[in-house]
């Protein structure tokens, strides 16, 4: 490793040997011990690292900002976005038990319809409908098939 490569190594991994890759640590430490130029590069990297760490980890009082953001979040929150697989999950979780009164009503209607069908009660209703239709056929036809007033066209 020449000095330029060593500088790049320090930029990539920092000046703290504890953070250096284990397979390169021994070689880098040996270089610092043997080479004066490498030692100067290492010392410069240590100074830059120390400045950056000091600057970045400087204690800043975030309490006022935190309070302002928390106050804004106290307002009504927007609607959450549900995942697209939520609907099948809801269907799988469906509880059928509360639906039994409706199921019972549907069954009762089906049974009632069946008995009306086999007892012939519906025939008299059909006859009555047939008579009323034939009796009023002329009047209905006159209304339905009357020519269109503007063009005189018949449907």
């Amino acid at each position: 490793m020449n000095n330029e490569q060593f500088r790049s190594f320090l930029d990539r991994h920092g000046a703290d040997p504890a953070r250096w890759p284990s397979d390169q640590r021994a070689g880098a430490e040996q270089l610092i011990a043997d080479d004066r130029q490498a030692r100067r590069t290492f010392e410069a990297a240590c100074r830059l690292d120390a400045m950056l760490t000091r600057h970045m980890q400087k204690n800043v009082n975030e309490a006022p900002s935190t309070a302002r953001v928390m106050a804004k979040l106290a307002d009504r929150l927007p609607r959450q976005r549900q995942p697209f697989w939520r609907l099948p999950a809801v269907l799988l979780d469906w509880q059928f038990a509360p639906a039994w009164p409706r199921m019972a009503a549907l069954s009762a209607c089906a049974v009632l319809g069946f008995f009306i069908g086999i007892s012939g009660l519906d025939r008299s209703v059909d006859r009555l409908n047939g008579q009323s239709v034939s009796a009023g056929a002329t009047g209905i036809g006159a209304v339905v098939f009357e020519p269109e007033p503007l063009t005189g066209a018949r449907p």
Partner: protein, 184 residues
């Protein structure tokens, strides 16, 4: 009651606003710090942190605990900061006014304060992704792999960002670094 981040997120996913506020209270200071260091001003940092938390709320039902919540939050904050940097021009530190930190510098010498200002300006002049990589690396003490996860890139790309970022800083701060050497 289990008050781990994962348990709270499960409650947030079911629409529990109290759990959401607990998550916000727990993570908001670090989110604000990260955003402020990348963006360079407190007002934008507040907007970013608020938007990130609203995303937590709206996307909670879809959230999968594949990574730590803290890592996921950092990723959201960094992406929002980078988006904001792309849209808005950088505001010079002098024009941006004071940061939220208004603690007196009584125990710091004027020289130290000046060095800090130069360093802040040099960091502010870095391209956004180089600055983000350096901030994550030095503020949070993250490994290059963790930084790569947050920036959604490869470890070698992060290393390139760090190398270029530090080259730029060395160029801008050469006199300051030399002063620091003399002071030791």
């Amino acid at each position: 009651m289990d008050d781990s981040d994962e348990a709270l997120m499960a409650r947030v996913a079911r629409g529990d606003e109290r759990a959401f506020r607990e998550i916000a209270r727990r993570h908001l200071p670090s989110m604000l710090g990260l955003a402020r260091r990348i963006l360079g001003n407190a007002a934008d940092a507040e907007d970013v942190a608020q938007e990130a938390l609203l995303r937590v709320w709206t996307h909670a039902p879809r959230w999968q605990p594949l990574a730590l919540l803290r890592t996921w939050l950092s990723r959201v904050v960094v992406n929002l900061c980078l988006d904001r940097k792309r849209k808005a021009p950088w505001v010079e530190l002098e024009a941006a006014g004071d940061l939220a930190d208004q603690t007196p510098l009584a125990d710091e010498s004027a020289e130290t304060a000046e060095r800090e200002q130069k360093l802040a300006a040099a960091i502010a002049d870095l391209p956004a992704r180089q600055r983000a990589a350096i901030v994550l690396s030095y503020t949070e003490g993250m490994s290059n792999a963790q930084v790569a996860e947050i920036l959604d890139t490869t470890v070698s790309a992060v290393e390139t960002l760090l190398v270029r970022g530090k080259q730029n800083l060395r160029r801008a701060l050469a006199p300051v670094i030399d002063e620091d050497k003399e002071n030791e």
